[in-house]
């Protein structure tokens, strides 16, 4: 455990020593902020129109009009941005040769992997925490159904862990960070559009494709529902990604 903490601290330090986290946090907040502005504007206009119609007003709630679209957009942004956070994790150590020294210390491969996973999550967590400003703003000017907001964030966390585990795996495959990121993009987008392939097929194939697709496992979180099938999906995806990372690290027959 002490090793996990040591590696976590060093990795987190490395994230904040490079510009990547600052640049990414800025872009992430700009984009989510723009979406937030647009959805809140739409919400305000709808509220204005509904002002004279008490019946219509009952259909207006912030969960449906503001948060669900925002969460849906954040998923897409994450599919594109998370590979940029994970690409350096092992590729950089291989390129610099530091992996050789790191693995000569008495640390288990699992400690290294866990420390790195937690570090990349902490770096992302910071960006996520900054977005708490959006629901806080709505709460200040109107009412917020907190349940769906909390489960929506849990969905983001679950998606993040799965993307990080796989991104880390891709980072062990190459010493070129760009290649690691590209595989990450390809994988994330492919996993996303599997759902459309599922729609175009029939029978068992369709069911399997739909289950494997990320798409089918996001919606319920934003609706305030914690479905076991979705939870299992992310736990399995994360575990498999970490397992593959561990196996490649263990194989280690690298021509450094």
């Amino acid at each position: 455990m002490r090793n996990v903490v040591a590696i976590f601290q060093r990795e987190l330090r490395a994230y904040f020593a490079s510009p990547i986290v600052y640049v990414m946090a800025t872009i992430f907040l700009l984009i989510t902020g723009a979406f937030f502005y647009l959805t809140v504007r739409a919400y305000a206009e709808a509220s204005l129109r509904a002002a004279g119609q008490p019946f219509a007003a009952t259909y207006l709630n912030s969960t449906e009009i503001v948060f669900r679209p925002i969460f849906a957009n954040v998923w897409i942004i994450m599919l594109l941005m998370m590979p940029l956070l994970t690409m350096r994790l092992f590729a950089e150590e291989r390129r610099q040769g530091t992996i050789e020294l790191l693995l000569s210390y008495p640390v288990r491969d699992g400690d290294v992997i866990l420390g790195k996973l937690l570090a990349v999550f902490a770096a992302f967590g910071l960006m996520l925490v900054l977005t708490f400003a959006y629901p806080a703003y709505i709460a200040a000017v109107g009412t917020v159904e907190w349940g769906p907001v909390v489960t929506g964030y849990l969905g983001l966390v679950a998606l993040a862990f799965a993307l990080f585990a796989w991104g880390m795996f891709f980072s062990t495959l190459t010493e070129n960070q760009i290649v690691a990121a590209l595989i990450g993009f390809g994988f994330a987008l492919l996993a996303f559009i599997l759902g459309w392939l599922g729609d175009a097929t029939q029978g068992t194939v369709s069911t399997v494709l739909r289950y494997l697709s990320i798409q089918g496992h996001l919606e319920s979180f934003a609706r305030g529902v914690l479905d076991t099938r979705d939870v299992v999906y992310y736990v399995l995806a994360t575990t498999l990604g970490l397992f593959l990372t561990w196996r490649t690290l263990d194989a280690r027959r690298w021509r450094a």
Binding site: R13, S104, P106, R252
Partner: protein, 358 residues
């Protein structure tokens, strides 16, 4: 302290090391000598648990590097070639991280870090970022991290490569000074380095162990007598052929393969002077015959002196006997850093060697 038995590492069909066996006792400073690609780095990477061997076994302080890897790694301080450190960290923060993963207790850590900082002479740059340090200082930080946690065994891969002559001297002094009771295995292709630092030398070539002994006696053990240096006003090629016939009469090979090396002319000598070195077999002294052979041909004999076989002549003789330095199946050694500096790797200028006896 280090046991290696039949160690073999293959990359596909290429063999990086083949059946390597040796053992190192506590307190020895062993020089691992070989050309680039001889298998030095591969062996060290196996010893430090970075790569597993294809066959054979290696253990550190009684712990197998594969089956008890974690325990073996606790006893090793490693400095890989070109010192790959986290360049984005300040020295002290970096050493604090290394101390943590090496299991140095929190209360002892600051003291131990200060100790290695001052032992390596880098206390005054403790708060500087590693990436901003000179190569020599980075190498010292590399040594400091290897020393942290008081390992019994230090594995140093080309610790002086890429440094300038002043830095090389400092690092050598440091290694000699730090060794103390530790067991040290260091790789190099700089021959005088081994003579200066090491109590024992292992010569590896194309993945196999060719010789094992003390730097000053390994020549005799390998059947090599002293070297004789001859300077005469004569055509170099003709003189070489004459001398080669004295060393190995009737041998059809060219003089270079019979232990006769043409040396560069000394400063101030013009092209008319040939300077050669003759490697003799153990127990022979060819000086009288050489003098007679030169003089009888009417060439003025300018110099003639003998010395014990240098490590260089031992090395060259072993390596050439084994099929030359650039055999086709020479296993490429995986190199972490392309910036492997060769500038300081040249063997010592033989003309600068002490004249020895006579």
């Amino acid at each position: 302290m280090i046991q290696v038995e039949g160690l073999t590492k293959r990359y596909g069909r290429i063999s990086a090391i083949e059946g390597l066996s040796f053992s190192v006792e506590k307190g020895e400073i062993v020089g691992f000598l070989g050309l680039n690609g001889a298998g030095k780095t591969t062996t060290m990477r196996i010893l430090t648990g970075f790569i597993p061997p294809t066959r054979g076994r290696a253990s550190i302080a009684g712990h197998d590097v594969v089956t008890a890897s974690l325990e073996a790694r606790r006893h090793v301080g490693y400095l890989p070639e070109s010192a790959p450190l986290y360049t984005d960290m300040p020295v002290r923060a970096y050493l604090d991280f290394v101390g943590k993963v090496k299991g140095v207790a929190g209360s002892e850590r600051p003291g131990k870090i200060d100790a290695v900082l001052s032992a390596c002479g880098i206390a005054h740059v403790a708060d500087r970022q590693i990436g901003r340090l000179s190569k020599g200082y980075r190498q010292r930080v590399g040594l400091a991290q290897a020393l942290l946690g008081d390992p019994d065994v230090l594995v140093l891969d080309e610790p002086t490569s890429g440094l300038d002559p002043a830095q090389i001297r400092e690092i050598r002094e440091l290694i000699r000074h730090l060794a103390g009771t530790r067991t040290v295995i260091l790789s190099t292709h700089i021959l005088p380095e081994v003579e200066m630092i090491c109590s024992r030398v292992l010569i590896v070539h194309r993945g196999r162990l060719l010789a094992d002994g003390r730097p000053d006696t390994i020549g005799r053990e390998q059947g090599l007598g002293g070297d004789v240096t001859v300077a005469a006003a004569a055509p170099a090629d003709t003189l070489a052929a004459v001398l080669a016939d004295l060393v190995a009469p009737g041998d059809p090979r060219p003089p270079a393969d019979r232990g006769v090396t043409v040396l560069p002319a000394a400063p101030g000598e013009d092209g008319a002077v040939a300077r050669l070195r003759v490697a003799q077999r153990v127990g022979t002294d060819l000086r009288p015959e050489i003098a007679r052979a030169v003089v009888s041909r009417g060439w003025p004999l300018l110099e003639l002196h003998g010395a014990a076989a240098t490590l260089e002549s031992v090395f060259i003789s072993l390596v050439t006997k084994d099929g030359g330095p650039h055999a086709e199946d020479d296993a490429p050694e995986p190199v972490a850093d392309a910036a492997r500096a060769e500038g300081t790797g040249a063997p010592a200028d033989p003309a600068a060697e002490p004249a020895g006896k006579e």
